[in-house]
């Protein structure tokens, strides 16, 4: 069996095991606090049939898509700049790394005050999460480019832009892609967290609303949708990532 097939088998076994554990927990705890896998799936299907739920999903996806696009553009630009400019890179890199460790959720009130309650604050918060890994991976990708390639570019008298376009970018693609993959996950987390705190729309809001309604099925269905989406997309990205790294 190829590595790829084995990976699929493991994933299937894993998903089956998780569903079994879920079902066992349901039998153990009961209806009060938990919905069974079947009931949650049925409720999810029912949710998707309603127009208001689709509107919430689209709202979340829209905030997420804008945030991710901005994260990619800003992350690549800053990453290449810090990669090129050794002094700025060495000065700022540890500072950006330490941004990773702070609970960024506490910064959200500042963004809310600056951007107001709504889409732009959500987007800003998503970018705040997603841009960091993209910067860091791009920076390290540029630093790790083989010197011979850069020397060749200099010999050919390439301009800075041509250097990025024809040498640095192709050489750095696998590592940059890893940054884009991690950035994808963190942007999603950021935009959902923003919705969970102070928002009137989107999946994060629905989750918080479910607590007030004490609607276990609703909470579990929305959680399931988020988890399946994140798991599926990041598995796909991981697969592409591994192929790129093997080719390089």
């Amino acid at each position: 069996m190829s590595l790829w097939h084995r990976g699929w088998v493991h994933t299937l076994v894993l998903v089956a095991a998780l569903v079994l554990i879920w079902q066992a927990l349901y039998w153990w705890i009961g209806d009060v606090a938990l919905a069974s896998p079947a009931a949650t799936l049925a409720y999810t299907a029912k949710l998707f049939a309603t127009e208001s739920f689709d509107a919430q999903v689209i709202e979340t996806l829209r905030a997420f898509a804008i945030a991710y696009a901005l994260s990619v553009v800003i992350g690549l630009a800053v990453g290449f700049w810090l990669g090129f400019d050794r002094l700025s890179g060495d000065t700022l890199e540890p500072m950006i790394v330490s941004l990773y460790a702070i609970p960024k959720l506490t910064l959200y009130p500042i963004l809310l005050l600056a951007f107001g309650l709504g889409l732009s604050a959500k987007v800003a918060f998503g970018v705040l999460h997603g841009v960091i890994p993209i910067i860091l991976f791009t920076l390290s990708a540029v630093h790790n480019t083989k010197p011979i390639l850069i020397k060749t570019g200099r010999v050919l008298n390439l301009s800075r832009w041509q250097m990025v376009r024809w040498i640095l970018f192709p050489a750095a693609v696998p590592e940059i892609f890893t940054g884009l993959r991690v950035g994808f996950a963190l942007t999603l987390i950021g935009s959902l967290l923003a919705e969970m705190f102070a928002s009137q729309r989107g999946l994060g809001y629905m989750l918080m609303n479910g607590i007030g309604l004490h609607n276990v099925e609703l909470i579990m269905a929305v959680t399931l949708v988020i988890v399946v989406f994140a798991f599926a997309v990041s598995s796909l990205l991981l697969y592409v990532d591994q192929r790129l790294h093997r080719r390089a």
Partner: protein
Amino acid sequence: MSRLAWYRILVVGAAVALLEVLCLTGVIDKITMQAPHLIVRDLYRMLVSGRMNAAIAKTLSNTALALVLALGVGVIAGALLHRVRALRDTLDPLFATYYAVPVFAFYPFFIVVFGLGDLPQVLIAFMLGVVAVIVNTLNGLDRVPQVLLKTARIMQMSPVDTALRMTLPSAGPYLVTGVKLAVAYSFIGVIGSEFIMSRGGIGYEISFAYANFDNATMYPLILLILLASVAINGVLSRYEQRLLARRGMR
């Protein structure tokens, strides 16, 4: 201090000075943000008055509890998984995509199941931290040179001796990476969930102050969290680098 450290101080100093000027000249109005020197003054007064001590203690004790659980369970699970190849292979896709799934999305679910006490927060913080510990434990155990284990066998060392004298020192730097991440994640988990919905703690106080337009409380608390997390992370990173340097890995 190195030249780069001075540049970093310069960058932070310039940013703070810029904020100060923008606030004093009224470009950023008072409702949005207070001037940095006022934030520092308020933080000092807050800490001296001790009115946030209960919240700080609550956050710290929950963080510590989650951290201890994540480290204990993570190291043991990592050591076990290292022995059981089949289980490890099965769990690999989970580990690879774990941090792509927003763990906080489970928080409302935990609140409904366990009530609005400390348990949901500790559980979220634990879930965030434990996988980082498992992955780094596995990583460390993978890199213990075979020759050390063979030597231990030749010298007929007991399993405990082998673990303490061979495996642990050898896997040490990777374990420290796991600890560093677990500290950051449990802090993020506790404060984040306090912030979303809870009955106490620093995160709760920030969201409460935000809801009441109480900038004189909110900004000092945010500053406190920033300083604390940057300081803790800095100390652990330095220790990690030292271990790596001693091993000639950097």
